[in-house]
C-alpha cells in the first residue's frame, strides 16, 4: 500500500516541528524550513494531481486504529476528483504564503511558520480523510493554529476576533459532532459502528427520511458556519480584519472551503434524500448570503473587510451551485471553490499590502495610488476583475456556469422571478469592485495621508502575485485543466443520487 497520502500529512508536521525548534538565534532559518517543506508538499501534490502515483483509487490508505465494542475507527485516507483540487490548492497557497511573508519581518518568526505548517497538516487531513473520526480530528486541528495566528500576529482588536472565531467555529463543529454520532448509530442495525465514509454512506441509506433530514440539519449547520453563510457569518469579517495577511489568505483561500467540502462530501454524498428535502432552504440561504454579502461590501470602508464580505457572497455562490443538486451545479460549485481560493488569495495579499505600504486600508483616505505604485495597481485590477467574473479569468468559470445551473433549477420549478437575485448579485459585485478600485487607484493622488514612504510591491510579493495571476489567467482560458478531475466525480455522485 502506498503511503503517499500519509506522507502529505507527515511532511508539513515535520516542517512545523522543525520550524518551532528554530527559536532564538536560528530564527532566520524558520522561514526556509517552512518554504522547503511546503515546496516538497507542493511537488507531491502536483505529481499526485498529474497522476504520477497511479490512479486515485489505488491511493486509498486504511489502517486499523480504534476498535471497541461500539466503534470501528480506522485511520483512512483517500483522494478523488473532489479532494485532489483542494489538496493542490492547499499546498499551493501554503507555499505561496510562506514566500509572500519573506518581505516582512516579525518577532518570533519560528512560531509564525510553525503555525502555518500546522494548519497545513489539518487542512490536508480534512481534504483526504475517509473516516469520520479522523475527519473531525483534522477539522479541529486547523482551528488552534488559526486562533493563535490571529491572536499573536493580528491587528489591534485581535483578541476579540480570535476568541469570536474560535467560539463560533468550535460550537458549530460540536453540533456537527452530534450529527456524526447519530449518522454512525443509524447506519448499522447492530454491532460496532464503522465510521468510514463508505460504510456510513451505504448503511444510512435505509434509515428513515425524518432521521436523515435531522442529521443533515446538524451537519449542515456545522459546515455552514464555517463557510460562512448568513446569518452565522459575523465572525468572518472580524477575523479577516484582524488576521495577518498570511492568515487571511489561508482562512479565506482554503479554510472556508472546508465548509463547502464537508457539505458535498458528507451531507450530499451520504444523505442525498435529505439534501433534496432541504433543497429550498439551501437555495434560500445561498441567495441571502450572496445578496447580503454584496450589500455588505458596498458599505465597507476598510478594503480588507470589503474583501471579507465578498467572500461571504462568493461562498454563497458555491452553496447555490450545491443547492441545485445537479451535475453542472455541483461541478461548478467546486470549481468556484477552487477559483475563489486563487482569487481571494490575491485579494487578501493586495489588501494586506495596502495596509502595510500605505499605512491604512480605509478607502476614503486612499486615492490615486496607481501613479505611485503601478505594479500594485496592476495586481489589484487583475484580482478585482477576476473576482467580479471577467470572462477569460478564472472567476468567470466559477460564477457564470453556476448561474446557468441555477437557471435550470428555476425553469424546472417555474420560479422565474428568482433570476432577479442573480442579476442583482452580478450588478452589485461589479459595482463594489469597480467603485472601490476607482476610489483607491485612480483620480487625483490623496492628500489625506502621507504617501512619501509608500513603496511598490516587493520582490517576493511580486513573484507570488505573478504566479497567482498566471494561474488565474491559465484556468480562465483552460478551465478544463481543473474540470477534468471534477466531472467524473460529480457524474458518479449524481448517478448514485439517482439510484437512491
Amino acid at each position: 500500500m502506498s503511503m503517499i497520502l500519509t506522507s502529505m500529512i507527515v511532511i508539513p508536521l515535520i516542517g512545523a516541528i522543525l520550524a518551532l525548534l528554530m527559536g532564538g538565534s536560528r530564527e532566520k532559518l524558520a522561514k526556509y524550513v517552512a518554504i522547503a517543506f511546503s515546496a516538497i508538499e507542493l511537488v507531491i501534490a502536483v505529481l499526485l494531481t498529474l497522476g504520477m502515483f497511479g490512479s486515485f483509487d489505488s491511493l486509498s490508505e486504511s489502517f486499523q486504529w480504534i476498535h471497541t465494542d461500539v466503534f470501528v475507527i480506522n485511520y483512512a485516507l483517500t483522494v478523488d476528483g473532489l479532494s485532489i483540487l483542494m489538496v493542490f490548492l492547499t499546498s499551493l497557497l501554503v507555499l505561496l504564503v510562506n514566500i509572500f511573508s519573506l518581505d516582512e519581518h516579525r518577532e518570533n518568526n519560528n512560531y509564525f511558520y510553525a503555525l502555518i505548517m500546522a494548519m497545513e497538516v489539518g487542512l490536508i487531513g480534512v481534504y483526504t480523510a475517509a473516516d469520520y473520526f479522523l475527519f473531525y480530528i483534522m477539522w479541529e486541528v486547523t482551528l488552534i493554529p488559526m486562533y493563535f495566528m490571529i491572536s499573536w500576529y493580528g491587528g489591534p482588536r485581535r483578541h476579540y476576533s480570535a476568541i469570536k472565531f474560535f467560539i463560533y467555529t468550535h460550537v458549530a463543529s460540536l453540533v456537527m459532532l452530534i450529527g456524526i454520532f447519530a449518522l454512525g448509530y443509524l447506519s448499522v442495525e447492530a454491532g460496532p459502528v464503522d465510521f468510514s465514509f463508505e460504510a456510513v454512506k451505504n448503511g444510512i441509506a435505509s434509515a428513515a427520511l425524518g432521521a436523515q433530514s435531522l442529521i443533515f440539519a446538524l451537519l449542515f449547520f456545522g459546515f455552514m458556519v464555517k463557510m460562512p453563510s448568513v446569518p452565522f457569518h459575523t465572525w468572518l469579517p472580524d477575523a479577516h480584519t484582524e488576521a495577518p495577511t498570511e492568515g487571511s489568505v489561508l482562512l479565506a483561500g482554503v479554510m472556508l472551503k472546508m465548509g463547502s467540502y464537508g457539505i458535498i462530501r458528507i451531507c450530499i454524498e451520504a444523505l442525498p434524500n435529505a439534501a433534496a428535502y432541504w433543497q429550498w432552504l439551501i437555495i434560500a440561504i445561498a441567495l441571502i448570503s450572496i445578496i447580503y454579502g454584496a450589500y455588505g461590501c458596498i458599505a465597507q470602508t476598510d478594503l480588507k473587510k470589503m474583501v471579507a464580505f465578498s467572500s461571504i457572497s462568493h461562498m454563497g455562490m458555491v452553496m447555490l451551485g450545491i443547492g441545485c443538486l445537479s451535475e453542472a451545479g455541483i461541478t461548478f460549485a467546486v470549481f468556484q471553490m477552487f477559483a475563489h481560493g486563487l482569487i481571494t488569495a490575491m485579494l487578501f495579499m493586495v489588501c494586506g499590502m495596502t495596509g502595510h505600504k500605505v499605512g491604512t486600508r480605509e478607502i476614503p483616505l486612499l486615492g490615486g495610488l496607481a501613479g505611485r505604485m503601478p505594479m500594485y495597481a496592476l495586481f489589484m485590477m487583475i484580482c478585482f476583475m477576476a473576482s467580479l467574473g471577467l470572462p477569460g479569468l478564472v472567476g468567470f468559470w466559477g460564477e457564470f456556469p453556476v448561474i446557468m445551473a441555477f437557471y435550470d433549477f428555476i425553469l424546472a420549478n417555474n420560479v422565474i422571478w428568482m433570476l432577479l437575485f442573480c442579476m442583482l448579485s452580478l450588478m452589485l459585485t461589479a459595482g463594489y469592485y469597480l467603485w472601490a478600485m476607482q476610489r483607491t487607484l485612480f483620480g487625483p493622488e490623496t492628500t489625506k495621508i502621507d504617501l512619501t514612504h509608500a513603496h511598490d510591491v516587493g520582490h517576493f510579493e511580486f513573484a507570488v502575485l505573478a504566479v497567482l495571476s498566471v494561474l488565474v489567467a491559465f484556468f480562465g482560458v483552460w478551465p478544463d485543466a481543473a474540470l477534468q478531475f471534477l466531472e467524473p466525480y460529480t457524474s458518479g455522485l449524481i448517478a448514485a443520487m439517482g439510484v437512491i
Binding site: I66, H67, T68, D69, V70, F71, F133, Y136, I137, E140, V141, L143, I144, F148, S151, W152, H159, I163, F166, I167, H170, V171, L174, V175, L177, I178, F181, A182, G184, Y185, L186, V188, E189, A190, G191, P192, V193, A211
Partner: protein
C-alpha cells in the same frame, strides 16, 4: 506470568495484596520517621511501596485475575480502578518531597495518611456490600481531612479542613440514613441481594426510593456534584497542590466508583433498569449530571484563582462522568471509567504544574501566569495541552474519552436514545463553554506580557511527573485502546461479578 509471582507470595490473600502492602506501609511510616529522621527516607519508602503496589496491580489486571477472600472481591473492574488510584498516589507521593507546600516535619504522618486514604479507595472498589463500602469511604475521608489540615500555619488550609470535615460529616450522616432505610426495607446490605429485592419488589415503596436518593446525595458530596459542591473550591484552594490533586483526581473517583458499584451493579446486574427504581435513579443522575456540569463550567468562568478554576472544572468533569450513571449501559460505564483515567492525567498534570509553579514562587492567580510562555516554555506548552485536553480538543485524551462518553448518551449501534440525547447536547454545549475559561489561562500565558522575564526553574521530579502525564494525555488520545480495552472488559464482566 508475572502475576503468578504475586499470587504465590500472597496465596489466597491475593485479593487483599495491594491493600496489605499499603497498610503495612502506612503503619511503618511513622516509625521510620521517628528513627530515620530525614524526610527523604519516608518519601523513598512510600514511593517504593506505591510503585510495588502499582506494578502488582497492573500485573493482576493484565492477567485478568479474579478472586475472593472474606468477601473482598477482585475482578477486572477492581484492579482497573485500583490502578487508577495507585497512579494518582504515585504522582502525589512522587512530587511531595520536592514541593515546598507539603510539610516536611510531619513527613511520616503525611505519607502514612496518603497510603491510608488510598487503602480506603482500594477497599471500596473491592466491596460488594453497602457497609464495607461505607467503611472504605470513611477511611479515605478521615485521612483526607487530616491531609488538608497538614499544611500548617496557613489560615486557608485550616479553614478548608474544618469546612471539609463538617460537610464530610453531613454527607456521612445522609449516607448512613439512606443505608439504614434501605436495610430496613430490604433486610440486607449486600448489593446482589438488594438487586434481587428490587427485581422482586411487588409494589413501589417511597421509603426505598428516598433511601436511594439519600445515598446519592451523601456520596454526591464526595464527588462534589452540584448542589453538594460548595466545599470543593475552598478545600482545593486551601490544601497544598499535591493534596488538591489527590482529592480532585483520586478521592473524587472513589465517589464515582461507589455510584458504579451500588447503582450500576444493582440495576444492570439484575436487569432491573426498566423498573421504577431504576428510572428514579437514572433521572436523578441525569439531572444531577446536567446541573453539575453546567454550574461547574459557568462558575469557573468567574474564577481568578487557578486552583479554584480547576476545582470548578473538576466539578464539571464529574458532571460529564455522571452521564454514565444516567445512561446505565455497559458502553456508558466503559466510557465513564475511561474518562476517569484521562481525567487523572490531564487534571493531575494541570495541578502538578500549579504545584511546581508555587514551588518556584509564582502565585495562584491567573494573572500571575502572564508571560509564562517566555519564562517557562515547556510548562506553558504542557499546561496548554492539559487545558485543551480538558476542553476536549482533539487529538488529545480528553477528546477521545469525551467522544466515547457523549456517544454513549446519544445512542447505541442501530438506534439513538430519545431519553438521553438532550444530556449529550447539554454536555457538548458545556464543552464549548469550558473552552472559554481554559483559553483565558492560555491567553495569559502566551499572549499577555508579564512584568518579569527571568526564567523559571522547577524541581526535576515535578518535570518528570508532568512529562509522564503529558505522554499519557497524548498517547491515550491517539491510542485509547491501551486502557479502553480494559474499561470495556470491566464493564462487560460486570454482571458476572457476583454469583
Amino acid at each position: 506470568m508475572v502475576a503468578e509471582i504475586f499470587t504465590s507470595i500472597f496465596g489466597a490473600l491475593t485479593p487483599l495484596a495491594t491493600m496489605i502492602v499499603l497498610v503495612a506501609g502506612a503503619l511503618a511510616l511513622p516509625g521510620i520517621q521517628m528513627f530515620g529522621k530525614k524526610h527523604v527516607v519516608s518519601w523513598a519508602f512510600a514511593l517504593i511501596l506505591t510503585i510495588f503496589a502499582l506494578v502488582m496491580d497492573m500485573c493482576l489486571l493484565v492477567d485478568g485475575y479474579t478472586g475472593t477472600y472474606l468477601g473482598v472481591t477482585t475482578t477486572v473492574y477492581t484492579t482497573l480502578m485500583g490502578m487508577l488510584f495507585l497512579i494518582v498516589l504515585f504522582f502525589v507521593v512522587l512530587v511531595s518531597n520536592a514541593s515546598t507546600e507539603t510539610t516536611r516535619s510531619h513527613a511520616g504522618a503525611y505519607y502514612s495518611l496518603l497510603l491510608g486514604a488510598t487503602t480506603g479507595m482500594l477497599f471500596v472498589v473491592s466491596s460488594v456490600d453497602l457497609l464495607t463500602i461505607f467503611v472504605g469511604v470513611e477511611l479515605t475521608s478521615i485521612s483526607s481531612y487530616a491531609l488538608v489540615a497538614l499544611k500548617r500555619k496557613d489560615g486557608r488550609a485550616s479553614e478548608a479542613a474544618v469546612k471539609y470535615a463538617i460537610i464530610g460529616g453531613l454527607s456521612t450522616a445522609l449516607t448512613l440514613y439512606g443505608i439504614s432505610m434501605i436495610y430496613g426495607l430490604a433486610g440486607t446490605t449486600t448489593i446482589y441481594e438488594l438487586a434481587a429485592y428490587v427485581l422482586t419488589a411487588e409494589s413501589f415503596n417511597w421509603a426505598f426510593a428516598i433511601g436511594m436518593v439519600c445515598m446519592i446525595a451523601g456520596y454526591g458530596f464526595k464527588i462534589a456534584a452540584v448542589p453538594f459542591h460548595m466545599w470543593a473550591p475552598d478545600v482545593y484552594e486551601g490544601a497544598s497542590a499535591p493534596v488538591s490533586m489527590f482529592l480532585a483526581t483520586g478521592s473524587k473517583k472513589m465517589g464515582l466508583a461507589v455510584f458504579i458499584q451500588v447503582f450500576l451493579f444493582m440495576f444492570i446486574m439484575a436487569g432491573t433498569l426498566g423498573t421504577i427504581y431504576g428510572e428514579i435513579a437514572q433521572y436523578t443522575f441525569a439531572i444531577l449530571a446536567a446541573i453539575t456540569m453546567t454550574l461547574g463550567n459557568v462558575v469557573a468562568i468567574a474564577q481568578n484563582n487557578i486552583k479554584r478554576m480547576l476545582a470548578y472544572s473538576s466539578i464539571a468533569q464529574a458532571g460529564y462522568i455522571l452521564i454514565m450513571m444516567a445512561v446505565m449501559t455497559n458502553e456508558a460505564m466503559a466510557a465513564g471509567t475511561f474518562h476517569m483515567f484521562t481525567h487523572v492525567f490531564m487534571k493531575g498534570g494541570a495541578f502538578l504544574i500549579v504545584g511546581a509553579l508555587i514551588c518556584a514562587g509564582i502565585g495562584e492567580k491567573i494573572s500571575d501566569y502572564k508571560g509564562l510562555a517566555k519564562r517557562a516554555p515547556f510548562l506553558a506548552a504542557a499546561m496548554m495541552l492539559f487545558l485543551f485536553s480538558l476542553a476536549g480538543i482533539p487529538p488529545l485524551a480528553g477528546f477521545t474519552s469525551k467522544f466515547f462518553l457523549f456517544a454513549s448518551a446519544i445512542g447505541t449501534p442501530g438506534a439513538t436514545y430519545d431519553e438521553w440525547v438532550w444530556l449529550a447536547f447539554v454536555a457538548i454545549l458545556n464543552s464549548a463553554i469550558s473552552l472559554y475559561y481554559y483559553a483565558r489561562v492560555v491567553k495569559a500565558m502566551y499572549i499577555e506580557k508579564g512584568s518579569e522575564t527571568e526564567k523559571i526553574k522547577v524541581p526535576a521530579v515535578f518535570l518528570f511527573a508532568i512529562v509522564l502525564c503529558l505522554v499519557f494525555v497524548v498517547i491515550l488520545g491517539v491510542y485509547p485502546d491501551l486502557i479502553y480495552g480494559y474499561c470495556e472488559m470491566a464493564a462487560n464482566t460486570l454482571p458476572h461479578i457476583v454469583g
